[in-house]
């Protein structure tokens, strides 16, 4: 398998501007010779099959008829075996080559899509449904695989069989040959018509199958509701209805099949019968030899019967085309270039961040943040406060260049942000989300996820201790090797966040973005997390997306955001002396404790 050749570096992007047929041809790049080989082998195999019948003709004519055999019996017998060997060998070769082609193309496509998708920008992922994307990467890719593995080669096979055997029969007798294929156009049209219908009926059957599964699944997951309302009989009736519909659609599909096969059987049968009659008459008249008749009787089968499948292949090809279009839609999207940018510092960032009049719009005309201006000095803690949708997250998402600001400028260590390559920025910036996504692998692997250097178990544990998650991990039976999401082990939002803190500690970024969680933890853990955070924030410019005032009182700069604008700024003390949202929130929060105290004392 020479996969690591030019074939793997082929950029599928070149398919995008092309027409479908050209695209499918281009997609085969690197495999075309192999596919050609597959087709040639098929032809060779068909030729060997035809020759078998011609050998039969020779055998019969010379050993039974008037001819005098010049070739000995053992050689003829050997000839049959040899031809079978050639036929089988070539058909095997063809199968192998076709499989290499189809599987190779599919593997390249899968890898390309996987890689492509992870390089597509946030703006793409924001608007795309996961399920839809996965569907395209699995079912549609598989439809394309079938196109190369079965359909294209299948159509080629039928065509080759027809041509070779037709020529062979012409050699026997032209008139006979022409009269033997009258039925072929009718057969092809019938099968095309039939399989079109079948594919619709099949779709409908599948749809009902899906409905049935959904009904079942909802019943199973909602078993408490069903039992609580004692709706067992109702559910049984509902399922019965869908089940019956499935039965009905299945029967319809079945009816089509049970009509198609006998009808085409009859068509083929009478065509053959006609051929037999004509051939037999010719043999009696002496126009052709008996051996020729026998060869004809064998060959005709390979012309007529395969035609019944042509319709199926053609109809399936059209589904392949639709899938091709859906896959190309993904490839058409532009990747974000991780290495684009002309300024690549040797060492680490210092962490001086200056926003000047920064604006950003997700869609043109609808601004997410407007005219943001502030400066964070290396080591500063900047707190962002605001309601959901106020632009906090958007603002910090600009720093790793997840999105490109539409106006104004951001300077990092005095250099315009978009001059830094994204890869560099993302390595320098650490992000701890409120409820971080963990991958379904072990906790250990999650902690070292994204760290490129080798890391010892000791370092991992040190990071986990600093993130106040070590003890939790050790309480699991498999410790650091516990699989996230494994039966019985579910991490709470707070625990996930601490795993992410450990991960970020190992990553050791210069700028830190932290989404402060409100998830409920007890006081001890809360203190531990505070400590973990402080460990994390040391010597780093930190942006905190804050939810409560306690966590931001020591920030060097607090920005209060509302509808994408900064409405208040300053330190905790400064903001307390100002009229505004900040003081309101502060008062409410301090009142909480007062009220609680009041209630408790009231109760006593």
């Amino acid at each position: 398998m020479n996969f690591n050749s030019a074939a793997s570096t082929f950029d599928l992007k070149v398919l995008v501007p092309q027409k479908k047929a050209v695209g499918l041809w281009l997609m085969m790049s690197g495999y075309r010779l192999r596919y050609l080989g597959a087709t040639l082998s098929l032809g060779g195999s068909a030729l060997a099959k035809t020759s078998t019948y011609l050998l039969l003709r020779y055998f019969v004519d010379n050993y039974f008829g008037q001819g005098s055999p010049t070739i000995g019996l053992p050689i003829i017998a050997l000839g049959f075996i040899l031809l079978a060997l050639v036929e089988g060998g070539l058909s095997f070769t063809s199968g192998r080559l076709a499989a290499q082609t189809a599987e190779g193309i599919t593997r390249r496509l899968r890898n390309y899509l996987f890689d492509h998708i992870q390089y597509l920008p946030f703006t793409y992922h924001d608007h795309t449904q996961t399920g839809e994307l996965i569907q395209r990467c699995s079912s549609d890719v598989d439809a394309l695989r079938r196109f190369y593995a079965d359909q294209a080669i299948g159509i080629g096979r039928i065509t080759l069989l027809f041509i070779i055997n037709f020529i062979a029969i012409i050699q026997i007798n032209l008139e006979l040959a022409l009269l033997s294929v009258i039925i072929v156009p009718i057969l092809v049209i019938t099968s095309l018509f039939f399989f079109k219908k079948v594919s619709i009926a099949y779709e409908k059957n599948q749809e009902q199958e899906a409905v049935l599964s959904t009904t079942l699944q909802e019943n199973l997951t909602g078993v408490r509701v069903v039992k609580a309302f004692a709706r067992q009989n109702y559910e049984i009736d509902k399922f019965d209805r869908e089940n019956r519909e499935k039965y009905r659609r299945g029967r319809r599909l079945l009816m089509m099949h049970s009509l198609f096969w006998p009808i085409t059987d009859t068509l083929c049968g009478f065509q053959m019968l006609g051929g037999f009659l004509l051939g037999a008459m010719m043999a009696i008249n002496g126009t052709i030899t008996i051996g020729s008749y026998l060869a004809y009787a064998g060959l005709i089968v390979w012309i007529i019967f395969p035609m019944r499948n042509l319709g199926r292949l053609i109809v399936q090809t059209s589904t392949g085309m639709v899938s091709y279009g859906r896959v190309i839609d993904i490839i058409r999207q532009n990747r974000e270039n991780l290495d684009e940018g002309d300024y690549l510092p040797e060492g680490n960032l210092k962490g001086l961040v200056e926003f000047k009049d920064v604006c950003f719009e997700y869609q043109s005309g609808i601004s997410a943040i407007e005219h943001i201006t502030f400066t964070a000095y290396p080591g500063d803690v900047v707190a962002l406060l605001g309601s959901t949708g106020s632009g906090k997250t958007t603002l910090v998402n600009l720093l790793p260049r997840f999105y490109e600001y539409t106006d104004g400028s951001i300077h990092l260590d005095g250099v315009e942000l978009n001059r830094y390559p994204r890869r560099y920025l993302r390595k320098q910036i650490g992000i701890v989300e409120q409820e971080p996504f963990l991958f379904s692998r072990s906790i250990k692997e999650n902690i070292i996820y994204g760290v490129e250097r080798d890391i010892s178990q000791e370092q991992i544990e040190t990071a986990a201790r600093a993130a106040a998650i070590h003890d939790v991990i050790m309480s699991f039976p498999n410790g650091y090797h516990t699989l996230v999401g494994e039966k019985g082990v579910t991490l709470s939002g707070g625990q996930k966040q601490r795993v992410a803190i450990a991960r970020t500690l190992l990553k050791n970024p210069r700028i830190l973005i932290f989404d402060d969680s409100t998830s409920s933890v007890d006081m001890e853990t809360e203190a531990e997390i505070r400590q973990a955070l402080e460990n994390l924030m040391q010597n780093r410019t930190t942006f905190i997306i804050a939810h409560r005032i306690q966590s931001i009182m020591e920030a060097n700069l607090i920005l209060v955001l509302d509808k994408g604008k900064i409405v208040q700024r300053g330190t905790h003390e400064q903001l307390l002396n100002e009229d505004g949202i900040y003081r309101q929130i502060y008062e409410i929060q301090t009142r909480i404790e007062d009220e609680l105290e009041k209630e408790l004392t009231g109760a006593c």
């Binding site: 008829g65 017998a77 089988g88 063809s94 408490r224 039992k227 096969w261 008459m281 408790l600």
Partner: protein
């Protein structure tokens, strides 16, 4: 875990005669279809072999004898048989297919109906995906075995036998050569099939891993980007696609090798026939037509052999499927109506837990010696840490499970003396993660009482305050809720399930409050809806909201399967015990959460006041 994970479970059972017989009994109600298609298929395979015999006669009696009238009469016979055959082919495809659909239908129905009877204990042990795979793919596999499997093997055996019969009649020495090589052909075919099936299973397994990998990388794309993990992820993924390539390629070349190998063995037979037949012909022992017939029979023979091999290789899997289906159908519900149980007509009244102990698995007690007397109309708030036993108490009350020790009395009667339906149909329940069914909003509310009129459905919705958001939909009550209700928000789903419960007009109301926060307005609606439901009914609330807790007539603090504190809000606060601790923590959290949405600071302030 998804259903396809369980479909590919390795199940290799030895051939089990008992199971096989039980599979056959599935066809009993449809014996007419079964005998119908079996008879047809026997005739069809007979005619198939006869066609070849007719071809021989065309050559020997027509062409070689130069007898046109005999030729025509044989050809006419041939034509008639084509028509008969066509009708028979229609019949056997249709009958076998119909039987298949019937068996599928029966199996699905049988399993579904049985599932409705099974107790919650079964569901807590059995993953939904497992059950799904049984009802979908396993029933397909079993019905395929009974229909196409039976059909192919009958056809295969009869074809082989009739072909052999005709061959023996034409020339017994040649027939013996064929007979000698036939077993080799069959064994080779079966071995091939087994390996091919195994490879295809590997392909499917790897495929589900690939899909899983796509899923994770797309869902976690933000983390991937933030940690610049793209290269490494691609490398891991390439490992997977390489495995996939190897398995699919192996499956493909095995399949590609299969037919040529079988053909080659046929060719060996053919070669022997030609050699031996040619010698015989010189002595006049065999005719041209005879040779032709042999050639046809031998080339044709690989089809029945192939089919037989496939059926045989797949049979084991189908039997394993059947065993899993039977295990489901044979599972006994653990909570059933006891003999002589009655419907008391009403279950309002005092509820008493007497020394109740319970464990899910026999070793870990979840509820320990619980004693509780709830007066009719009381509202009981259950609070305490996760895993403490709150949900179990509710499950016992609903009789989803029964106590292992002790008794639960409703209105002074042991509830196991009542029918399950009489209890459960009078309990209204709203779950933490509300479960809706695909269909319209109206259908979902009506689930509470099936004979409710449209007006009643709507007034129930109005009563809980769901009416407002429902009427904002373009289709109003006819709006689809999506699979599992996923087109609605959690809050909306909860409102609908409240309406559903209120429509049922239950005598006991149970609610598991949601922990996740919903917007303030919806929260207020849910609260008022709950209050409407609690009026005049004995209610049990697994409570997370302070307002709910404070309004309860009694609060039970449940920890380690026991009631560790009990009393009213004020009483318990004064104790300064566990409740006090829980309450203050919850208080801070809740208020903090409310403040997060500080655009609406002022409205949310009201709820802080005790």
């Amino acid at each position: 875990m998804p259903a396809d994970y369980f479909e590919e479970e390795e199940f290799q059972t030895k051939f089990n005669g008992k199971t096989f017989l039980r599979i056959l009994t599935l066809t009993k109600p449809h014996w007419n279809l079964l005998t119908g298609f079996l008879l047809t298929i026997i005739v069809v395979s007979g005619i198939d072999a006869y066609f070849t015999f007719l071809s021989k006669r065309i050559i020997d009696e027509g062409i070689v004898a130069k007898n046109t009238s005999v030729l025509i009469s044989i050809l006419m016979q041939y034509g008639v048989f084509i028509l008969i055959q066509a009708m028979l082919v229609f019949l056997f495809i249709y009958l076998a297919g119909l039987l298949g659909e019937q068996i599928r239908f029966d199996l699905r129905r049988k399993m579904f109906n049985h599932l409705q009877r099974l107790s919650l204990a079964y569901y807590s042990k059995t993953p939904v995906g497992w059950i799904m795979a049984r009802v979908t793919s396993d029933s397909d596999r079993v019905s395929d075995l009974i229909t196409w499997g039976l059909l192919d093997s009958t056809w295969g055996v009869v074809s082989l036998l009739t072909s052999l019969g005709f061959m023996l009649a034409i020339n017994w020495q040649l027939a013996l050569i064929v007979l000698a090589i036939l077993p080799i052909l069959i064994v080779v075919a079966i071995e091939f099939r087994k390996r091919i099936i195994k490879e295809f299973r590997n392909v499917r397994k790897t495929n589900s891993k690939i899909v899983g990998s796509y899923n994770e990388n797309i869902t976690g794309v933000r983390v991937v980007k933030a940690l610049v993990r793209e290269n490494e992820n691609l490398h891991e993924f390439i490992d997977l696609t390489n495995t996939m390539y190897r398995s699919s390629y192996r499956a493909a070349w095995l399949s590609a090798l299969f037919l040529p190998t079988v053909q080659l063995i046929s060719a060996a037979i053919l070669g022997s026939i030609v050699w031996y037949g040619g010698l015989q012909a010189q002595y006049g022992n065999i005719t041209i037509g005879g040779i032709q017939a042999f050639v046809s029979y031998v080339t044709f023979m690989m089809w029945p052999v192939q089919d037989l091999a496939r059926v045989f290789a797949e049979m084991q899997h189908a039997i394993a499927s059947a065993e899993r289906i039977f295990s489901l159908v044979d599972a006994k519900p653990s909570v059933i109506n006891h003999p002589g149980s009655i419907d008391p007509g009403s279950i309002s009244g005092d509820i008493v837990f007497q020394n109740v102990s319970f464990s899910y698995d026999d070793d870990v007690p979840v509820i320990k010696n619980l004693n509780l007397h709830v007066k009719s109309g009381e509202t009981i708030a259950l609070v305490g840490p996760t895993g403490g036993g709150k949900t179990t108490i509710v499950n016992l009350l609903c009789r989803f499970y029964e106590p292992k020790e002790g008794k639960i009395l409703i209105n002074n009667r042991d509830y196991t003396e009542m029918t399950l339906e009489s209890i459960q149909s009078r309990i209204g329940i709203v779950l933490q993660t509300p479960h809706l069914f695909s269909g319209t909003i109206r259908e979902n509310i009506r689930y509470g009482r099936l004979d409710a009129t449209d007006a009643e459905v709507e007034s129930a919705a109005k009563l809980v305050g769901a009416d407002e958001f429902i009427t904002k939909f373009e289709k109003k009550y006819e709006a689809e809720v999506g699979e599992g209700g996923n087109l609605l928000s959690v809050g909306q789903k909860q409102l609908i399930s409240l309406a559903r419960a209120i429509l049922a007009n239950p005598e006991i109301f149970i609610m598991d409050e949601a922990t996740s926060s919903v917007d303030t307005l919806t929260e207020a609606l849910i609260q008022s809806g709950m209050e409407k439901l609690m009026q005049g009914r004995t209610s049990f609330i697994i409570a997370h909201r302070l307002s709910t807790i404070r309004k309860a007539s009694r609060i039970l603090v449940i920890e380690d399967g026991q009631v560790i504190e009990m009393g009213t809000h004020t009483e318990l606060l004064q104790k300064r015990g566990k409740y006090h601790q829980l309450y203050t923590k919850q208080f801070r959290n809740q208020v903090n959460q409310e403040i997060d949405q500080f655009v609406s600071i002022n409205p949310s302030l009201g709820s802080i006041k005790p």
